[in-house]
Symmetry: C2
Subunit: 283 residues, 2 copies
DNA sequence: GTTCCGCATGAATCGATAG
DNA sequence: ACTATCGATTCATGCGGAA
């Protein structure tokens, strides 16, 4: 298991990665015109033009069974939502990407504020792209407890019913009970309810660890490889390493690389087995 | 206060409506390839072409201060999400519409099912378009109790709840009440949590009454005019009438017009004042 | 009168089968 | 091959009848 941190521009560094090498790409690129002081601020007009060569590289290095999750939200420009996200999706489809799904990240504690013609923005897009129609998805890994329905009805089952003699399994009644119990968990939907992280860690767009964790559970297994080409403070890489996935993080800001490295080291020391490695590149 | 029901094609009937006559358009047009038996089913390829002339008419009849809420969701075609909604937004902007905002309707009880590469779809788009950057928005009318927005049932917000006693305005006591209200209530976000109506309530409606009610509260006042060019069973028109707004409903299916008419009549008889009118056109 | 349980019902999606 | 139709899958909700 290897964790690699690259310092540099994604458009450049991605070329050093081999074809079909990555199982999951999950990233939150700098939004248009945001975070000017760190990333230089890409204007909405130029956003697609800026991102296209990168998405082309990502298409090359992703395994045919892999998935790309893009966390993005269009900003308001002159009273209107910008259309660069839509244009980006259309452009990426022309590159060969399949637009499989769009998850919604509902931010329970969204940014406060009040405007005369607008409410607070409490959601972001998590756009799923794939290279082919057959991709790896481990749905059982992210099942959630059912709603009140099951709880309300299961509570009536007596303890003896639940611990019924296994020999009874196969009889009508025993079978039925087993079916009930299996229904305690349900598959989730394409709407994620997560709070944004409060402790900001110095990075301006840190998302909560639960977000990469959920997608890493869903789309990878142990020893698979996860990439974040806009690593920031390194949340995705950190979570991937903790979950025993190979991880690659890239960021153009050296301070972020340093921060990610400092968050990774202790974990590495305590958990890595001898064959595991840790590589720092281009510092 | 007048409620009008038109039977016919929206592309045709909208021409009979004057310029700048409507304060709020809220509708849920037939989704591509959906509702084939009733609406004929527009293919995803032809969707923009089909809707463009209608949105052009809507632009003409909307007041400059008015708002257009479009409820829509792209379906999956051959494993991919269709792009016709994105293309529609881009096309409508070229027509002169402003894409002001996109609300998310989180459907708590979405359609069930299980597939190897996809979770259940639990959200729909509520895309807000405007004719100009200055539009009417009455944010106080939809404030919700502090705490979980999902628990605040919108149906509890009756019209009388929002009309403050005029005698209290200006007095110290009234001011204090206002302060209390400000403390107890918060502005909502752009994510709405509503369950769809199941068919057990006698009629099956595309969306729950709370949905048009919320937007009617937010974007109109009494005696304003609300339009639904794809009326269906008439939920929007019914709610608008109950909230003492003028309402116009159009549908190409005569059975739906009949259903809407039957839902409207009893309300009209019990609530209308003498100067109110009810008009049935083109049955 | 409560509470509880059975049941029908969705603006869904995939894969297999049929023309 | 390419489209049209069908069955299977699945879960929150509210109504009606039962305990």
């Amino acid at each position: 298991m290897i964790t690699r941190i690259y310092h540099g521009d994604s458009g450049e560094k991605l070329r050093e990665i081999a074809d079909d090498a990555v199982d999951l790409i999950i990233t939150s690129p700098p939004y248009a015109d945001q975070r000017k002081n760190t990333y230089g601020g890409i204007s909405p007009d130029q956003y697609v033009e800026w991102f296209s060569p990168i998405s082309l590289q990502l298409l090359r290095i992703l395994k045919p069974t892999g998935t790309f999750i893009l966390n993005i939200k269009e900003k308001v420009v002159n009273g209107e939502r910008s259309t660069y996200v839509m244009e980006l999706v259309l452009t990426m489809r022309k590159q060969g990407w399949l637009w499989t799904e769009e998850f919604i990240w509902h931010k329970k504690n969204c940014y406060p504020g009040k405007w005369p013609n607008r409410f607070r923005d409490a959601w972001e897009r998590l756009i799923q792209f794939n290279k082919s129609r057959k991709f790896n998805m481990y749905q059982e890994a992210v099942m959630v407890p059912m709603g009140d329905w099951a709880n309300a009805r299961l509570k009536n089952l007596s303890a003896t019913d639940k611990t019924r003699d296994p020999s009874k399994v196969g009889s009508g009644f025993g079978k039925k009970i087993a079916n009930w119990l299996e229904r305690e968990k349900a598959y989730p939907t394409n709407v994620l309810h997560l709070a944004t992280e409060c402790g900001n860690r110095g990075h301006s767009a840190a998302f909560p660890e639960e977000l990469p964790e959920w997608f890493i559970q869903l789309f990878t297994r142990e020893d698979d490889t996860v990439l974040d080409p806009f690593m920031g403070s390194g949340t995705t890489v950190l979570v991937a390493q903790r979950m025993r996935r190979n991880a690659i993080g890239i960021d153009i800001v050296s301070d972020y690389c340093e921060m990610a490295r400092s968050r990774l080291r202790p974990v590495q020391l305590s958990l890595f087995t001898p064959e595991d490695g840790y590589e720092e590149a281009q510092f």
